[in-house]
Each structure stands twice: as C-alpha cells, then as structure tokens.
C-alpha cells in the first residue's frame, strides 16, 4: 500500500470515527435527557383529564425535571393512567402522599406532570399510584381572562356614562369643568399645610408648657394635678362656693321681691320712685327750699350788718382767726 494511500485512509478513518462519536454523543445526550441511561423507577397516577399529555413529556418535582412520562393509557370510561419514570436517586424526596397534577411549561409550553413531594415519612414504592390533583389549565385561565375582560368592558362602559353625565351638570361636573377651582383647591391645600405647620408649632409649645408646669412642683397646676391632700381643700372650697352661690341666689330672690315691692305704687317708696306728680312736687319743694335758703342767706348777711348783731359776728370772727393761728 502506498504511503499516500495510508495517509488518506487514516484521515478517512478519523473522519468517519469522529462522525460516529458525534452521533453516539447525541444519542447519549438525548437518552440521558429522557432518563434512559439513568437508574429509574416506575410511578403511576390516574387522571380524569391529562390535557394532551404525551409519552416523553417531562415530570417536575419542585420545579426540577426528575423524569419523563413513559405511557399514557385510558383504563376506563373516565380515567387515564400515566406511567412515569423517575430518577432513582430522587425517590427519597417523593413520599407516599405525594400529589401529581397536570400543568404546563409556561403559557405556550408543553404539558408536564408536576409532583408535590408530600409529607409522609415513607418514600414512594415502585409502581405506586400516587394521589392526583387538578391544576388550573390554560383553558381555565383563558376563561377567567375572558370573564375579567367582559367585566372590565362593562365597568369602562359604565364609567364612560358616569363621566358623560358628570360632565354636563352637578357638583362633579363643575369640579371637572371649573377652571378656577384648581388654583382655589391649591390655595386651600396650601392653607391646610400652613395650618398644619402652625398646629405643629402650637402643639410643641403646649407640650413645652405642660412640661414646664409638670416640672414646677410647687406650682398651682402641679399641686392641682399631683397633691392628693389638696383635693379635700378643693372639695371644701367647692362646697363653700356652692353654699355662697345658694345664698347669693336666695339674696337675689329677696332683692327681687324687694324691688317688686318698691315698684308697687301703693307704698311710699313706690310713690317716690314711680309717681311722676310726686316727683314734680318734690322738685318744686326743692326749688322753693333753695330759693328760701338764698333769701335766708341774704337776711343773715343783712343781720351781720345790723348794729344789734354786728358785735356778736365780729367777736366770732376774731375767735376763728385766733383758732386758725
């Protein structure tokens, strides 16, 4: 065999063997994905509806792929039995009371079997039939979405009607259409904020004042609040005030009766206070009396200059000057 030929054949051999190895690698990889080359154990579950589950679909435990579906068989009128192959190493995590359900890999993904591990101390046995539950299917979700969409349409329609009505008249309408309302509301909010700030300051001052009153142990307020013996005095004072009040009320009643009596024109005081004719008479009398006094003074002045009485007045004057000195 020529050297060139050997070299060619060697290259050809390497080429073909590499191709075969690539092929075997692909077979092994696909097989391992389908748990063909791993030690596994069979597990069964019965469902009323498997939502299009097929052989080869994945089995998930806590979100991790742990096996594949090997068989899907209808066993009676209303029951479908599936056989799964689960990784032997994970048997310890699947308990006797584990729960299988049909789900989906995302919204448009393949159908899968989801196993919830369960809490029983005993791990599941070979070919055991585990409990099943029904998860929300895509169709259920679509139905729910459709209902929600219809509700939203109705709400939107009603809201539009309300807004149309509100836009025409009424408080809400004026709220929405009045352009001056915005600045006013803003002003009101500013005022509220200012009031709030002032209230905060005021509260702070009140707290400070209360603290001072509390700290001033000898003060009146602190005594009022803390001195228990003072309460007795306080009660007595209140009783005295009450008594004084009662007495004042009685005096007031008597005074009222007195005033009523005075107001009565039948008695002297009533006549004095209420009879206008009597008052005129008194006025006249007073005027005449005043006039009489003036005249009397004039007479007395004249008497001082009388020779009979002059001597007496001079003597009295001298005596007064003497007393003053």
């Amino acid at each position: 065999m020529k050297r060139e030929e050997v070299r060619r054949n060697t290259r050809l051999g390497i080429f073909v063997i590499t191709g075969i190895l690539l092929f075997l690698f692909a077979i092994f990889y696909v097989g391992s994905e389908q748990s063909l080359f791993n030690a596994n154990f069979p597990l069964r579950a019965n469902f009323v509806d498997v939502n299009g589950l097929q052989k080869g679909n994945n089995v998930w435990l806590s979100g991790v792929k742990v096996g594949t579906v090997r068989e899907v068989n209808i066993i009676d009128n209303s029951m479908v039995q599936i056989e799964m192959r689960i990784d032997q190493k994970l048997r310890q995590f699947i308990k006797e009371d584990a729960l299988a359900s049909i789900s989906s890999e995302g919204f448009v993904g393949n159908t899968i079997v989801v196993i919830e591990p369960g809490s029983s101390p005993q791990a599941v046995a070979d070919n055991a039939i585990i409990r099943t539950g029904q998860q929300t299917s895509t169709q259920d979700m679509m139905n729910a979405l459709q209902t929600t969409a219809e509700n939203i349409t109705n709400i939107t329609h009603e809201l539009r009607q309300i807004m149309q009505e509100a836009g025409k008249e009424g408080t809400l309408g004026s709220l929405l259409t009045d352009t001056t309302l915005g600045p006013e509301i803003k002003l009101t909010i500013d005022n509220i904020q200012t009031t709030g700030r002032r209230s905060a300051v005021l509260t702070s001052d009140v707290i400070q004042m209360l603290t001072q009153l509390k700290n001033n142990e000898s003060g009146v307020v602190n005594t009022l609040l803390t001195d228990t013996s003072f309460s007795r005095t306080y009660e007595e004072t209140l009783a005295n005030i009450k008594t004084a009040g009662e007495q004042a009320a009685a005096a007031s009643a008597e005074l009222t009766a007195l005033v009523e009596k005075i107001d009565n024109q039948k008695n002297a005081m009533g006549v004095v206070l209420n009879d206008t004719a009597f008052a005129n008479n008194i006025q006249k009398t007073a005027d005449q009396l005043s006039e009489g006094v003036a005249k009397f003074n004039e007479n007395m002045e004249a008497a001082q200059h009388n020779f009979l009485l002059r001597r007496y007045f001079k003597k009295k004057k001298r005596q007064e000057e003497k007393e003053n000195n």
């Binding site: 030929e5 690539l22 097989g31």
Partner: protein, 244 residues
C-alpha cells in the same frame, strides 16, 4: 432516462455490491474524496445556515415572548430538516456534477470500453464504489453538518442573549428525541444513494459526444436535487407518522 433502464441499473448496483471481487481500495478512495474533501464546504455552509436561521427565527420568537425557546427551535429545525437537506443539496451539486462529468468524459473518451477490454469490471469500479461512497459518506457529513450548524446557532444566540454553552446544548437536546436523531441519519442514506445512482447513471450512460459531458453533469445535479426533495418529502411523511 427510462424507468426500466434505471431499475436495471439499480438492480445491478445491488448485485455488484455484494459480489466479489470487492473494490475496497477504490471505495475507500471515493469515500475520502467525497467525505473528507467535502467536509470544509459542508461545515462552512452549515455554520452560516445555523447563524442565519437563528438570526431570522429570533424576532418571531421575541414577539411571542419565547426567546428562550430558540435553542429548542433551532435544534429541531437543524436536526430534522436543515442539516440533512443542506448537506444533500451541496453533495448533489459538488459530488453529482463531478461524478456525472467524470464518468461521462470517460465514456466519451472510451476509457470505460478500454477497462472492459482489459478485463476490469468498469461498472463495479466506477459506479458501485461511488454509490457506496455517497451512501456512506453523506450521513457522516450530515452529522458534521448538524453539529457545526448548532455551533453556528450557538454563536448567534450567545451574541444576542449571552446564553451559556451548557444551557444552549441542554435546551437543544431536551427538544430532540431518538426519532429525530435516527431520522437525521437514515434520511441521508437515501439522499446519498439517490445522488450516487443518479450521477453515475447520468455519467455512465452519457451520449458519446462532447456535449454529453456537460449534459450528464447538468442532469446529475438537477435530477439529484429533485430526488433529494422528493425523498425528503416522503421521509417527513413517514417519520411524522411515527411521532406521537
């Protein structure tokens, strides 16, 4: 081409394949020429096809919010369809034309007659060895094409999504089944056989004129490609019916 003649030609190929003497040396030589010498071309085109297919599929998947499905989509497309088809079409062009032209020129220059006169079986030496070579080497080339196209796809996916190599291939192989892998190997066997038969028939039965070389080369390529598409169509139907 007459159907009866083609039928006899194919029958003779099978008969000569399993009867001694075996032209092992020439068969290996043809395998080297058809396999090793085509690998670079196949690898380059597959790599580009992987990148292009990924690049063009990505926007559609993004619209559905299913960009993470890109490795799965690409692996299925490449292993089930693109890889075998691209390889078969390139082999039709490169190998078919070369075989058709080579045999037809030998026919025109009466080298085939000379071989017969020298006691060599020209059918076994020229036709059977080439048909065996194409039947064996096209599937091997498809394996390379698939692998290289997936690498190209990974480059494109990694460029846009920074997906890791491990995640890409895990997702790619999760989507594949044994049937996909085996169909990717079985289909090319028929592709290779068809390319070999069509090309050698066109060359071996070329008219004894200078124009016969061009005609047979052209016929080899065109009919090979048509046969590849027909076989692919039938294979899709058959393997599709086997899928659950």
């Amino acid at each position: 081409m007459r159907v009866a003649h083609v039928y006899q030609f194919i029958l003779r190929i099978f008969k000569e394949t399993f009867s001694s003497p075996f032209e092992t040396e020439e068969t290996l030589n043809q395998c080297y020429l058809q396999g090793n010498r085509t690998l670079l071309l196949i690898g380059f085109t597959s790599f580009l096809a992987g990148i292009v297919f990924t690049r063009q599929s990505r926007p559609s998947l993004i619209e559905f919010g299913a960009e993470s499905w890109l490795p799965s989509l690409v692996s299925i497309a490449i292993v089930r369809g693109l890889g075998p088809l691209i390889t078969a079409l390139i082999c039709s062009g490169k190998l078919g034309s070369s075989m058709g032209a080579e045999l037809s020129s030998m026919k025109v220059t009466e080298q085939i007659d000379a071989m017969e006169a020298s006691g060599t079986n020209p059918f076994k030496y020229l036709v059977v060895t080439r048909v065996i070579a194409t039947t064996v080497m096209v599937p091997v080339l498809v394996i390379y094409a698939d692998a290289v196209a997936l690498m190209g796809s990974y480059v494109a996916v990694h460029y846009y999504s920074q997906t890791t190599f491990k995640l890409f291939f895990t997702q790619a192989f999760q989507a594949l089944s044994f049937l996909d892998i085996f169909s990717s190997i079985i289909k090319p066997v028929f592709f290779g056989f068809a390319i070999g038969v069509v090309s050698t028939y066109a060359g071996y039965n070329a008219p004894r004129a200078t124009v016969g070389v061009g005609k047979s080369a052209n016929r080899s390529v065109v009919i090979s490609m048509v046969c590849v598409f027909i076989i692919d169509f039938l294979a899709v139907q058959i393997f599709g019916s086997l899928r659950p």
